[in-house]
Amino acid sequence: MNKQNLDERQVSVKNKIGSQSFLLLAFLLFADAGLYGFGVRWLPYPANIVLILTACLFIFLVRTIRANAYAPPGQAKKNPYLVIAAIGAAVAAAAAVAFLFGKDAGAGVPAESGGGLILFIISLVMIVVVGVVLVVKRRQG
C-alpha cells in the first residue's frame, strides 16, 4: 500500500468530514438567506458569505487534522498546529478585510466594487497561506 497517499480509513474519515462540512455550509447559507428575508443583516454582503465559507473551511481542516486524516502514513510527523495557525490567520485576515470593506459597502458604495476587491484580496491571502505551508512542508521534509 502506498505510504504517500492517505490510507483507506483516512479517506473514509475525510470523506465523512467533508460531507458534514458541506451540509453545514449549505445549512448556514440557507439560514443566512432566511435571516436576510426577515430583515436581519448581521454582516453586509459579501462579508457574510465569505465569513461562512472560511468558517466551514476552517472547521473542515481542524476536524480532518484531529481525526488524523490530513497527512498520509509515510509523511514525517509534523506539527499540525502550524497548518491550523496558518488557516486561522487566513480566516482572521479575511474577516478583518471583509469587515473593513463590508462597512464601506454598507455605507452606500456600490456592492460590486467592494465585493470584487474583497474576493481578490482573500484569494491572494489564501494563495500566500498555501505557499507558506508548502515551503514549511518542504523544509520539514
Binding site: 500500500m1 502506498n2 505510504k3 490510507d7 483507506e8 480509513r9 483516512q10 473514509s12 488524523n68 502514513p73 509515510g74
Partner: protein, 69 residues
C-alpha cells in the same frame, strides 16, 4: 461490531506493536488500532495484507464468533 481480539493476539504473538504492523502495511497506527477495537471495517485488501503479515488465514483473524464480542 466487537473488538478483534484474534488480530490483537496474533500481532502480540509475533511481538509486533501496532506501529510495526502499520508501517509494514503502509497504513497509520490509528487504522490498526481502529481495526482491533472494532471501530473500522477494513477492506478485503487490508484484511489479506494483515493475514500475510501475521501468517494467518482470513478465518483465523476475521471470522466473527463469540470470542470477538
Amino acid at each position: 461490531m466487537g473488538k478483534n481480539l484474534k488480530l490483537k493476539s496474533a500481532r502480540a504473538a509475533l511481538g509486533l506493536s501496532q506501529k510495526d504492523v502499520a508501517e509494514a502495511l503502509g497504513v497509520t497506527r490509528q487504522t490498526i488500532n481502529a481495526v482491533e477495537s472494532g471501530d473500522y471495517n477494513p477492506t478485503i485488501r487490508l484484511c489479506v495484507a494483515l493475514c500475510r503479515l501475521l501468517d494467518k488465514t482470513l478465518d483465523d483473524l476475521f471470522w466473527e464468533d463469540n470470542e470477538n464480542e
